[in-house]
């Protein structure tokens, strides 16, 4: 079933609202940061006296104002919301001014006096290496005996690869708004991929318990990983303002601020050495990856680990050592970004294979093919360096199919012929496999919840823990629920993702949003079906097990004429005092992962995406 995006009509007519566009409650304050003009400095003095007295200013937020923990780090507690004494990247906000309008806040921010003592800054991976500036401990994955195999290999090659970063450029910049509801509950609307974490971090900063904070995400104008953790701090700033002033606060970053304040894709430096034979088959690989993590750890450990477990791309590396480190630089803290380190790892494997092909004068696709993972599930050459088998490995078949379908060999010849006669313009052709691990490396994140309410009139509210950022998750959840309950999509409404509906959710990330939440939705539907079937069975005078939900009714599967309309069934259930509300829950099976000599706990589901 292919349906249009549930918000498509809203998108094209401009009626679909984003966080920034919710009606401002009266008295909503605007916010603007006071930014440090140094990449690394000691903060000597912060004087907001003049700013506090400026037109429209209601409050200036500094570290001193924080009642709870001045901490927003998602994995490691190394991210003060507002710096106490040290500036760690250019443009870092040392304070935020809240005023009646954003314009006034901005004007007043210029009046805050901050004094700094500049310190030497590390702005590149090379500089971090020279200064021995790293986060946490190095990671290592090893298999076989890379040292001996490298020494014994007929050929050896080494290289380095600089991999650049990338801004997410979600079209909608970060946006948060907070207010007290009528009864002392702090409500956050945030453009966040991870409402539960936003809720948790905000509670921590304010010194509240999670049950006092609700985080909602209506929809995002794109996320791409850039709103997996990075939304937390902005929500916390708004929430702090609401706590201190009692007033609603809204913050929508201008694009320049968004680019200055938020992390991007990790740049990587890779050094590799490969030992191989005359056929181009790899005997040994020794790879070092250094990720530019920026000023704080953020999600760098799992990003690095994902890069480390993707350096093989689709190739069997019998003897391999992968070392990984996180450079601590004075840059915004780099974060999740589509692929989450996977692309940075894969490109290193590809670089290696391409270099081997060039050295041996072989077509790259031939060297690729010769190194593929292959054989049965448990074949030695089908095992990854992180201890997981490539289950149902279709790559060799897929490869020959693709090569044939695309007439690859003929096209390769045509390209060569063109290049031989064209002096300035050259053409190229490549075919490249991709193996990509789906789901969170960290096992506990592979769980999800849903909450479904059926109302008297047969209409249904659908809640799940995932967030909508354009990937069509809500639409897919609608399809799941609609199929389970046999109802048309028009009977449903997907509710704003909210932590008071589905708690303790994971980030919508890791290519797992549909699988996890879809199963949770199905689980909730199945619970409801199990409650409704006996009622229908009684009404239709049949076995509950013979029933199915389809075409807006519950009917005998083998005798579709014997049916009770869904709405009538719901009425009867209500009258029989049967609950029409159910939660659903799902955890990914088989994702407790094996461990090799890898330093981190991680797992990868058995699914493999080849593209």
């Amino acid at each position: 079933m292919s349906i249009v995006h549930e918000s498509a009509l809203g998108h094209v007519t401009g009626q679909a609202r984003y966080t920034d566009e919710l009606p401002d409650a009266p008295g909503t304050l605007g916010a603007w940061p006071v930014q440090a003009p140094h990449a690394h400095a000691r903060l000597l003095k912060l004087d907001a006296t003049k700013a506090r007295a400026a037109a429209g200013v209601v409050c200036v937020l500094t570290a001193a104002e924080i009642p709870g923990r001045n901490q927003t780090g998602p994995i490691v507690a190394d991210e003060p919301l507002l710096p106490v004494d040290e500036i760690l990247y250019y443009g870092q906000a040392v304070a935020w001014v809240l005023a009646e309008t954003e314009h006034q806040a901005r004007a007043a921010a210029a009046l805050v006096i901050a004094e700094y003592e500049t310190l030497p800054a590390c702005l590149t991976i090379a500089a971090a290496e020279a200064a021995d500036s790293f986060h946490l401990k190095p990671s290592l994955i090893e298999r076989g005996d890379p040292t001996t195999a490298m020494a014994a290999a007929p050929h050896r090659l080494a290289g380095t690869l600089d991999i650049g970063g990338q801004d997410h450029f979600y079209l909608e910049t970060h946006c948060s708004r907070t207010e007290w509801d009528g009864d002392g509950q702090l409500v956050i609307h945030s453009s966040t991929q991870h409402p539960s974490e936003t809720q948790h971090i905000v509670a921590q900063v304010l010194g509240l318990s999670s049950h006092q904070v609700t985080c909602k995400c209506l929809r995002m104008g794109g996320g791409f990983g850039g709103k997996e953790t990075q939304a937390n701090a902005f929500a916390a700033i708004c929430a702090l303002g609401t706590l201190l002033t009692g007033r609603p606060v809204k913050l929508k970053l201008h694009r320049t601020l968004d680019m200055q304040l938020t992390g991007k894709r990790h740049p990587f430096l890779a050094r590799w050495q490969a030992g191989f034979d005359a056929d181009g088959k790899i005997h040994a690989a020794d790879i070092e990856l250094i990720a530019d993590a920026g000023w704080s750890v953020d999600l760098s450990p799992p990003v690095l680990m994902r890069a480390m477990v993707h350096v093989d791309n689709a190739y069997f590396l019998p003897n391999v050592r992968v070392r990984g480190r996180m450079a601590k630089t004075h840059l915004p803290s780099n974060t999740a970004f589509r692929g989450f380190g996977g692309p940075q790892g894969m490109i290193v494997g590809e670089e290696m294979v391409a270099a081997i092909a060039t050295r041996l004068g072989l077509p790259p696709e031939l060297v690729r093919e010769r190194n593929f993972y292959r054989g049965a599930n448990d074949a030695p050459e089908n095992q990854t360096h992180y201890g997981q088998a490539v289950i149902d490995n279709h790559l060799p078949d897929l490869w020959s199919q693709l090569k044939a379908n695309s007439s690859f060999d003929e096209r390769r010849q045509a390209v060569s012929a063109f290049n031989a006669q064209s002096r300035r313009r050259k053409r190229g052709i490549a075919i490249t496999p991709v193996k990509f691990g789906i789901s969170f490396n960290k096992t506990i994140y592979n769980q999800a919840g849903a909450l479904i309410h059926i109302y008297h009139d047969g209409s249904v509210q659908l809640n799940h823990g995932g967030t909508e950022m354009g990937q069509g998750l809500h639409s897919k959840m609608l399809v799941v629920a609609s199929r389970c309950l046999g109802l048309p999509i028009s009977r449903f409404r997907v509710m704003t993702t909210s932590t008071d509906k589905v708690p303790n959710t994971s980030a919508t990330a890791a290519s797992s949003g549909s699988d996890l939440n879809g199963q949770a939705v199905a689980d909730a539907c199945n619970t409801l079906i199990a409650r409704l079937k006996p009622i229908a069975a009684a009404a239709l005078n049949c076995e509950a097990s013979s029933l199915e939900f389809a075409d807006t009714c519950c009917r005998v599967a083998d005798d579709p004429g014997r049916a009770i309309p869904f709405t009538e069934l719901v009425h009867r259930a209500y009258d029989a005092r049967i609950s029409l509300s159910a939660t659903g829950y799902y955890r990914t099976p088989k994702s407790t992962g094996t461990r090799s000599r890898c330093m981190a706990d991680r797992s990868i589901t058995s699914r493999m995406a080849l593209r």
Partner: protein, 455 residues
């Protein structure tokens, strides 16, 4: 109400009063008035999420053009008519481009979508659908395929079914004639503009606002006031007598595209790669000269054409040769109280070409731009040559030594090699985040080689 002016939005007249700020962008005004369909993706004119349609009245008919509302100061909105995405659908049906976008899954997160819809809406009614119609719109989600499918779908609608005049978007009762805001003057003649400037020497000229609008959108004050030159008829004329041209400073780049035809490749080859549709609909030749940026794309063309820039000020008008106009980084021969009124030139015979190298093809700033004009006699001897570059010095600049060297020679491989090394000695490009100086240096020579080989 102390309204002193009005403008028309989606067919309704809105007052504009002392309480409104003429420097505020139309986008921010829309947002404050809860018309939130129009989005801000960048505030810089780069993403097109803020695209709205301006309705131009041309006699009895109306024309539409897409513009970036983030760059457009309210002072330039007054007295004009605009359509936003909210107005496209009626109660009963959505607009054909909206329907096509839904059907083709042209939206994912939806944040870029209203901007695309507006660009397509204009393209649909103006019969200008095609990639250049959406060059100024960025989408981070779809990869564009589905949007282009939607475009193809509506492009198939016969033009006879695409009404041009859209009465419901037009101000039926324009109320009273718009007046200047106190800090945003809108003279109707050059003389009036000069008088305004004499009265307010610290006010600055603004025409298309595609450059100034970026600074305003970023909250920079720019100047205490503005004198808008976009309503002066004289500045909007293009005259041609045989090979002599006179192009008004207020002519937009889109108008240039329409009016130049194929006779001036050195300029028409620039235009597809100059910004994108929404910017070109407002950006002017005068503004490009006014910015005097070393990477202003039209400036090498003016140098290669040996154009004359006409200035007008309190002491009358004076011509300045383009070659003498650019003095140093963003410093020119124009006095503060003068405005550019027009550019004049005679097209010399010979082959013309323009090259722009940027990180992407459209809507990007040049790394290096080059405009070449070379004429040879029947034996291939060069009798006329001008080589002008942008992006390789503090000002747009001609390679005079190389020109002198080439004069009287033929473009044989040895001469070309020597010309290329001469070119290298004439410029000292800088490294910046767009490119290294070595790369720029390589381009200086290679673009010339490309020109020679294309002959």
């Amino acid at each position: 109400m102390d309204a002193y002016s009005t403008f028309c939005l989606n067919g309704t007249t809105h007052p504009f009063s002392d309480r409104d700020d003429p420097r505020e962008s139309l986008l921010r005004w829309l947002k404050r008035h809860r018309l939130t369909g129009t989005k801000e993706g960048c505030g810089d004119g780069d993403c097109g999420a803020c695209t709205v349609a301006e309705v131009l009245r041309e006699g009895d008919s109306n024309r539409l053009r897409a513009v970036n509302s983030c760059l457009l100061p309210m002072g330039q909105v007054l007295g004009r008519s605009f359509v936003t995405v909210e107005a496209l659908a009626t109660k009963d049906e959505v607009h054909p481009v909206q329907r096509a976008m839904v059907r083709c899954a042209g939206s994912q997160c939806g944040y870029c979508t209203p901007g695309f819809v507006m660009s397509l809406f204009v393209g649909f009614h103006e019969d200008t659908l095609g990639d250049h119609c959406i060059d100024g719109n960025l989408c981070r989600c779809t990869g564009y395929t589905t949007i282009r499918q939607a475009m193809a779908e509506v492009a198939a609608v016969p033009t006879s079914e695409r009404p041009r005049a859209l009465p419901r978007f037009i101000d039926q009762d324009p109320g009273f004639t718009p007046r200047s805001a106190p800090t945003f003057l809108t003279p109707a003649t050059v003389a009036e503009a000069i008088a305004n400037k004499t009265a307010h020497p610290d006010y600055v000229w603004i025409t298309g606002a595609t450059d100034t609008g970026v600074a305003l959108s970023r909250g920079q004050p720019v100047a205490p006031g503005f004198i808008a030159l976009d309503r002066i008829d004289e500045l909007q004329q293009v005259h041609r007598r045989e090979s002599s041209w006179r192009i008004g400073a207020g002519v937009t780049l889109s108008q240039l595209e329409d009016q130049l035809g194929d006779d001036l490749p050195i300029i028409t080859e620039v235009l597809p790669w100059f910004a994108a549709r929404q910017v070109k609909n407002r950006a002017t030749l005068g503004g490009n000269i006014g910015s005097a940026s070393p990477i202003g794309d039209l400036l090498p063309c003016l140098l290669a054409l040996d154009a004359v820039i006409e200035l007008a000020g309190p002491n009358g008008r004076r011509p300045v040769a383009a070659a003498d106009y650019f003095l140093d980084y963003r410093r020119t021969a124009r006095h503060n109280d003068e405005l550019v009124t027009a550019v004049t030139f005679d097209v010399s015979p010979g082959r013309q070409a323009f090259y722009k190298v940027a990180k992407r093809q459209t809507d990007d700033i040049s790394i290096v731009a080059a405009a070449f004009l070379v004429d040879t006699d029947s034996t291939g001897v060069i009798r006329f040559v001008r080589l002008a570059y942008g992006g390789v010095a503090a000002i747009p600049k001609r390679a005079r030594d190389t020109e002198a060297f080439l004069l009287g020679r033929t473009l044989d491989p040895g001469t070309v090699d020597e010309a290329v090394s001469k070119l290298a000695s004439e410029f000292a490009p800088l490294s910046d985040h767009r490119a290294s100086k070595e790369y720029r240096m390589a381009l200086i020579g290679n673009l010339f080689r490309q020109f020679v080989e294309a002959a």
